[in-house]
Structures are given as structure tokens and as C-alpha cells.
């Protein structure tokens, strides 16, 4: 073989090797494209608010980011499509658009009861999974809509958790009930009566309030409260009416502790004054949770957003995680497949120390509720010193609801 032939052979061999090597590297670098899954997020907030400040949005974002870590291993990626709605009709229209135009695999609703009902009707037609993170009416928790699941718990369940703590642990048997002078308020009164009759307590007095036309008098009669000899005031109000009541109740200061059936916030603490009078309320999450990797989840959320994780954020994080795990386990983003997975009682880990599953007759995620307590400690300053004082496990309807421990 002449040297020239040898050289040509060497060059040819090297060329072939180089091309092959380069092709191999390219095929590794490109890789298969992931399959994208869109999750629709419905928010009931003014459209002028900053989305990134939304507690529900933040929770969903963390859920998506973590879902994409998991999904990345198996060829899936998730994204959110966010829509603000105002009212039931708008909600239905938005849901329809998200399903038909954007092809969402699931919808997460942070809407009130009426808007949720409207969305649910749309979902039933379209076979997309719907997860409720906000609506609390007990009447929504029925088995007639197999594609709808509830992560938020009902008013009745919140009352059970709070009521058990107040009566059994704190021995508050005589309640002064403050409710709205409307159908919601009547519903709350009925639930409270039912609960107390079974728990060995009683309603010592009732104040049914409404915002008057002059905007000043809400109809609260302090003398009625004092004459009732109640040991606690239970407030079944929210929004503007609650703020007005707390302002009225706090001036002059009352010596009674307060329990709220809806989550308390910093504004609610403004009335307390310099004493150490507690305010109690039930919740599905607390930024103070440490056990069962609660510390880790709270820490991840705080590092990501520089704010504390709350129940709205937790429920939306959980909703996204449920959808993602369904898709990855079943390898399909079809609504019916997702629904079948959720209904198969997979042991969902919500950082609450137990496998969370859905109670199918109510379509309700059975998870842990917490009773939180906050005492304002310093004159003039509102401090978030909320802490978990009781833990209440929501179990399936056959077994009833019961507390599992208290702290």
C-alpha cells in the first residue's frame, strides 16, 4: 500500500468518525420534546391587581415549578393559563374558552359558590377535571359531578374543627353568635345550633348584622352580649361587615375571646388592644407548621416568594401537584384519566403527615385542619404570632369527623 493511499484511508476514517461522533452528540443534545400540559387557573380578583401578589397564584406557581422538576424526568412539562373572572356568567365563559381554545387538562377554581357552580356545569360537558380551592358551601359536595373535586373544605367541616376545639378543649359551652342578616347568616346559625346540640353547648345570644344605609350602624347591641353571659364570641362574618363588627366590638374593648369561622387577618387583630385576648380560627395550612416536612414546604415557598405560605397558596399548590402526579402516573393528560386516578385513592402527600385521599361521595379531599390562635401582644402593633393550637383530621363520611390530637 502506497503512503498516499494510507493517508487517504486515514483521512477518510477520521472524517467518518468525526461525522458519527457529531451526530451522536446532536442526538443527545436535542432529545425528545416534552409533552406540555396546560392547567387553567380561575381567580376571583379585581383585574387591576398585580397577579404576582396573589396568594392563590403563588401557590399554583410553586406547584407548577415543582411539577416540572418531576415532569422533566418523564417527558412532561406543565404551564398555567390564568384568567380573572367576575361573576358566574363570566366564569362559565372563561372556563369554556380555557377548555376549547387552550385545551386545558384541568381547571383550578378559586371562585365563590355561584361561580364555581357555573364552571362545574361547563366542565361536565367537556370532560375536564375541576378542582375547587375556594367554594365552601356544603351543598356543593355531592357525587353527581364525578369530574369535580374539592380541596377547600366546607363550612360545616371548618365549624366542626373549630367547634370541637372551643367546646372540648377550651370549655366554651355558651357562644354568642354574630352572623349576617341574610341567608348565609341563617345557614350558619343552623349549622352552629346543630353542632352545639350534639356537643353539649348552646347559643347564648345572637346578633344578626347588616350594613345599614347610613353605613355606620351595623345593628350590634353590646348590651345583648353582656347579658348573654357567653364565654366566647363566634363570628360568622367576612369582608366589610366583619371589619365593621370588629371595629364596633373592639371599642370599648370587650374581655371576651373571639373565634372566627373564616380566616382571620391582620386587620382583624386591630381591635384587640393591649391584652392577650386570643382570636381563634380554622385553617387548612399554617406557615408555622414544621412536622411532616411542613417546615420544608414552608421554607421553599418563603424562599421563592419572600412571603409566608397560607391556606390559599397551599390549596393551589396541592391542586397542581395532584394533577401533575395523575398525568405522570397514568402517562396521559386526559380529564377522565386524571379523574380516575384521583378517584383511585392514590396516597397524596400534602406535607400533612398522612396519605390524603378523596372521600368520593362528597368528592372531598380528606385532610388535616388546624385551629390557629393569635394573640396580639404589643400595644399599637399588630403582630402575626399565630400558632397551631389544635389539629383536626377530616376523615371519610362513613367514619365521621374527629380530632386526632391537640397541641
Amino acid at each position: 500500500m502506497t503512503p498516499w493511499i494510507k493517508i487517504k484511508g486515514l483521512v477518510l476514517g477520521l472524517s467518518l468518525f468525526t461525522i458519527s461522533f457529531a451526530s451522536l452528540q446532536m442526538s443527545r443534545a436535542v432529545g425528545p420534546e416534552p409533552e406540555w400540559v396546560t392547567i387553567g387557573l380561575l381567580l376571583e380578583e379585581p383585574s387591576g391587581s398585580v397577579l404576582e401578589d396573589s396568594r392563590t397564584y403563588r401557590g399554583a406557581v410553586l406547584g407548577v415549578e415543582e411539577a416540572n422538576v418531576l415532569g422533566g424526568f418523564f417527558g412532561w412539562q406543565f404551564t398555567l393559563s390564568v384568567t380573572h373572572v367576575n361573576g358566574a356568567t363570566a366564569a362559565a365563559v372563561a372556563a369554556d374558552r380555557l377548555i376549547k381554545k387552550e385545551g386545558v387538562a384541568a381547571l383550578i377554581s378559586n371562585l365563590g359558590d355561584d361561580a364555581f357552580l357555573a364552571v362545574r356545569s361547563v366542565v361536565q360537558e367537556s370532560k375536564v377535571v375541576l378542582l375547587n380551592c375556594s367554594a365552601r358551601a356544603d351543598s356543593l359536595r355531592i357525587n353527581s359531578f364525578p369530574l369535580a373535586y374539592h380541596i377547600e373544605v366546607s363550612n360545616r367541616d371548618y365549624l366542626l374543627a373549630l367547634g370541637h376545639f372551643l367546646v372540648s378543649e377550651k370549655k366554651h359551652h355558651r357562644w354568642f353568635l354574630v352572623r349576617g342578616d341574610d341567608s348565609d347568616g341563617e345557614e350558619w346559625e343552623e349549622m352552629v345550633r346543630t353542632f352545639l346540640s350534639g356537643a353539649g353547648g348552646e347559643i347564648a345570644g345572637i346578633s344578626a348584622l347588616s350594613i345599614q344605609p347610613d353605613g355606620e350602624d351595623i345593628g350590634f347591641n353590646r348590651e345583648e352580649l353582656e347579658e348573654s353571659e357567653a364565654s366566647i364570641v363566634v363570628v360568622c362574618l367576612r369582608g366589610e361587615l366583619r371589619t365593621a363588627f370588629m371595629d364596633s366590638f373592639g371599642r370599648p374593648e370587650s374581655s371576651l375571646p373571639v373565634a372566627m369561622v373564616y380566616e382571620a387577618n391582620a386587620d382583624d387583630m386591630a381591635w384587640i388592644g393591649s391584652g392577650s385576648r386570643p382570636v381563634y380560627w380554622p385553617s387548612i395550612w399554617s406557615h408555622t407548621l414544621v412536622r411532616y416536612s411542613g417546615r420544608e414546604l414552608n421554607s421553599r415557598y418563603r424562599r421563592r416568594f419572600d412571603v409566608l405560605m397560607d391556606s390559599d397558596a397551599w390549596s393551589n399548590w396541592a391542586a397542581v401537584k395532584l394533577v401533575a402526579e395523575a398525568v405522570i402516573n397514568r402517562r396521559q393528560a386526559n380529564g377522565k384519566i386524571i379523574s380516575d386516578f384521583l378517584g383511585s385513592h392514590p396516597p397524596f402527600d400534602g406535607h400533612k403527615g398522612a396519605a390524603l385521599t378523596f372521600d368520593l361521595p362528597r368528592r372531598q379531599l380528606c385532610h388535616t385542619l388546624y385551629v390557629l390562635e393569635n394573640r396580639r401582644l404589643v400595644d399599637g402593633d399588630i403582630e402575626d404570632e399565630s400558632k397551631v393550637v389544635s389539629v383536626f383530621q377530616l376523615v371519610s363520611s362513613d367514619s365521621g369527623t374527629k380530632p386526632i390530637e391537640s397541641r
Binding site: 392514590p346 396516597p347 398522612a354
Partner: protein, 324 residues
């Protein structure tokens, strides 16, 4: 005469061995009071308590038994304790929030789970240099190295995965979906199987190492208890798999061949970490809720001692470098 001579020779050798090697020690990390408890495994008594750093959890020994490594979660370091002096001799940087780790068989590499960073860190134990940071799942915890040193498994609690790392290039070559909230992982002595516990799922996944896939699942169940599998160890002959059950307060004993649960042994509160003596005859369980360690005789499967420790015992390791 020659038999007498041989008798004294053997006796002398035996006594020399006893004096020079001593009895193995068990080391227990106490998460809540930042200490390590040292237990003489012959007497099952505490012989020392060592102050280490903040939030000790994962614990392990160098192959020669001279160095005790402890993951100090809040210090973001691996503490190194000299087992003779029983003092901290070094702190190795290892990324944030180390929870557990595993040593390569030759002791030259530490593979560490960084719980808040979704990574596993590879550390050179001689130089303390970080060799690699490997992305794994969310909230990594358990780490195990195969007996041949080829594979490292890292569990991720929130993504319910095991990342399979090839130590030849420190890259993830496979990710396996396991039970809900996986925590501990370990390999069988022959390296053919791996076992991964799932705390919320209540199961132990059995993985075929060569095929890198799940080939079985063992469900643990105790009537009236919520079983939360956490720690897992395998007997030296592979015939038994021991799994701690957390707040179910028992250790499950599983037949390594049939994968059937043979029995449950009641131990202390919130049992997590497990460690066997080299001969497999005693199992030490770290009971974080009752602040003690249970010692199980594995021949009779009964608790033969309960040893008080510091608060919140998390992990336990027994010195395998010393022979009785």
C-alpha cells in the same frame, strides 16, 4: 506440652485482639440537641456524648472506623469526628441543608442529599472539595451506594422519585417513580437489589439494580397503626430486610427471598434510623419520639435493651471496622 503451648498461644492472640480492636461502637445522631451518643455494643451502655453541630441527622463511618461523618443540616456542613478523640476535627462544605449521605466503598467520596436545594453533592473526603452538584428531585433525602460503588441512589420526598447516578461520570442515568414520599434506600449485599421506603405510601419498593426498574412492592400494615416506612437495612447474608415504621413504633422484618413480612417488633417511639452489627446479630433502632435506642436480638427477634440517648435520635451507625 505442645498442646499446652498452642493453647496459650491462641489465648494470647485472642486477648491481644480484644485489647487492640475493642468492641464495636454504635453512634446515634440526636437531631434536637445537636449531639451524638456513643454506645458500646457489647455492654449496650452509653460511653460518651459528643457535641456536634446544628441539626445532626445522617450519620456514617469511614471504612477504617476512624472518622465519623454527620450531616449538620443547619450548619450546611458535614461534621467529621475523630472516633478516638471523639471530637470534631473538621467540617466539610457540602451545599445547603444536608440531610443524609452515603460513602463510597473505599471511603473516598461522600454523596450527600441537599434537602432544600434539589441536589446531591459529591464530596472528596480527603480534600473536602466538592466534585459535583447533581440535580435530583424535590426534597432529596435518602442516599445509598451500591456495594461495587458503581451506583448511587438518591430519593426525593416530594417528587416521589429515586435518581440513579452513575459514579463513573456523576450523572443521573435514570429516574424511577416509587411510592409516595420516599425516604430511605439501601442495596442488598450482593448489589442486585435495592429497597426504597415510602413513608406516605406505606410501602417498600424493590428495585432490580441491573434493569434499574421496580420489580416488587412490599406493603406494610399493622392493625390500628398508620405505618410510615422510613429506615431500611439488609442483613449481611441478604436473608432479612429490616424496615422502621416511624410513628407505628415497630420494626418490620421481611424475608429477603420471598419479600414476605415475617413479623413486626415493637420498639420505641417514632423509629427511624436502623443499623446492624457486622455479624447481623443485633439491630439498633433510633427512636426519635422516645429519645432512646432499642436493641433487637435478630436471632430471637426480641428487644434486649433500651438505651437512653440525646433528644430526637435520628440516625444510627455501627462501626463495621472492628471485629468481635
Amino acid at each position: 506440652m505442645q498442646y499446652i503451648g498452642r493453647f496459650f498461644s491462641f489465648t494470647g492472640l485472642f486477648l491481644t485482639a480484644m485489647v487492640s480492636n475493642g468492641e464495636p461502637f454504635a453512634y446515634v445522631s440526636n437531631e434536637y440537641d445537636d449531639t451524638v451518643t456513643v454506645i458500646d455494643t457489647f455492654t449496650d451502655e452509653v460511653v460518651a456524648t459528643i457535641k456536634v453541630g446544628d441539626r445532626p441527622r445522617g450519620i456514617g463511618l469511614s471504612p477504617d472506623g476512624r472518622k465519623l461523618y454527620i450531616a449538620l443540616g443547619s450548619d450546611n456542613a458535614i461534621g467529621v469526628v475523630g472516633t478516638v478523640t471523639r471530637k470534631i476535627v473538621d467540617r466539610l462544605p457540602c451545599g445547603t441543608d444536608p440531610e443524609t449521605f452515603a460513602l463510597s466503598p473505599d471511603g473516598s467520596r461522600l454523596y450527600i442529599s441537599n434537602e432544600d436545594a434539589n441536589t446531591a453533592t459529591v464530596l472528596d473526603t480527603a480534600s473536602g472539595i466538592v466534585l459535583a452538584r447533581i440535580p435530583v428531585g424535590v426534597e432529596p433525602e435518602g442516599v445509598a451506594v451500591s456495594p461495587d460503588g458503581r451506583w448511587v441512589y438518591v430519593t426525593a420526598e416530594s417528587t416521589h422519585t429515586v435518581s440513579v447516578i452513575d459514579t463513573r461520570n456523576d450523572k443521573v442515568v435514570n429516574t424511577i417513580l416509587v411510592g409516595s414520599r420516599p425516604r430511605g434506600a439501601t442495596f442488598s449485599p450482593n448489589g442486585k437489589r435495592a429497597y426504597v421506603t415510602a413513608e406516605i405510601g406505606g410501602v417498600v419498593s424493590v428495585i432490580d439494580v441491573e434493569r434499574s426498574e421496580i420489580t416488587g412492592e412490599i406493603r406494610l400494615s399493622i392493625e390500628g397503626e398508620v405505618v410510615k416506612p422510613m429506615g431500611v437495612v439488609v442483613s449481611p447474608d441478604g436473608s432479612r430486610v429490616y424496615v422502621s415504621t416511624g410513628r407505628a413504633n415497630h420494626v418490620a422484618i421481611i424475608d429477603g427471598a420471598s419479600l414476605e413480612v415475617l413479623r413486626y417488633v415493637a420498639v420505641g417511639g417514632r423509629v427511624w434510623g436502623l443499623a446492624l452489627t457486622t455479624d447481623g446479630r443485633k439491630l439498633y433502632t433510633a427512636n426519635g419520639g422516645s429519645h432512646n435506642v432499642s436493641v433487637i436480638d435478630t436471632d430471637r427477634n426480641v428487644v434486649i435493651a433500651t438505651i437512653p440517648t440525646g433528644r430526637g435520635p435520628w440516625g444510627v451507625v455501627v462501626d463495621a471496622s472492628r471485629e468481635k
